[in-house]
Assembly symmetry: C2
Homo-oligomer: 113 residues x 2
């Protein structure tokens, strides 16, 4: 079962099951650190929708720290990665992002439609 499948039920629709909450909480937790969230945004907003550590220099943390956080985001299912030559390129996982968004947004549909 993918993260995207597990976490789609809006929080306002019915109480989440323990299993759904485990999966979704892991993803929210990964975004619950300011540096990690900025790095996630740096990757997500980078040209072509992907970035390597070599592309990210303005968050004010060392390259090993950047690598560490990107790995954590990947482990949480929020990024995918691909090695090309010297560098590992990270890309956002759009389906997962959309599923997390739906989890929150259906609850206030009026504000978005």
């Amino acid at each position: 079962m993918s993260n995207a499948e597990v976490c789609c039920s809006p929080v306002t629709e019915r109480p989440m099951s323990a299993e759904e909450a485990e999966t979704a909480a892991r993803m929210f937790k990964a975004l619950g650190d300011p540096v990690r969230l900025r790095l996630f945004s740096a990757v997500a907003s980078h040209e072509g929708g992907e970035a390597c550590v070599c592309d990210i220099s303005d968050v004010g943390v060392s390259q090993p720290t950047v690598s560490h956080h990107l790995k954590k985001l990947k482990e949480a299912g929020l990024l995918t990665s691909e090695r090309r030559g010297t560098w590992v390129y990270y890309r956002v996982e759009p389906a997962v992002l959309a599923a997390m968004g739906r989890l929150l947004v259906e609850s206030s549909a009026g504000a978005l439609t």
Copy 2:
């Protein structure tokens, strides 16, 4: 500046600033615990969009633990509360929820529009 104002820029649009990331990460972190996320969903999906500790009994944690987590969610700006008689009633903050959703969802707009 409210949480809703600070956290609206989609992560794919541009890298988040340190200030934006601080605010948004605090909210994501609050949802980054499975029990807290289930309680959040229990409140959000409860009849009338609000619930007191007395309404929540099926998450498998004690009433003081429920109270503790609901307070944390309130501190993070995700719930508002109102005392009526013996009980404090919690309610989701729709604007904040919508803002968090937008942060994630614009990046895959096709999935939602």
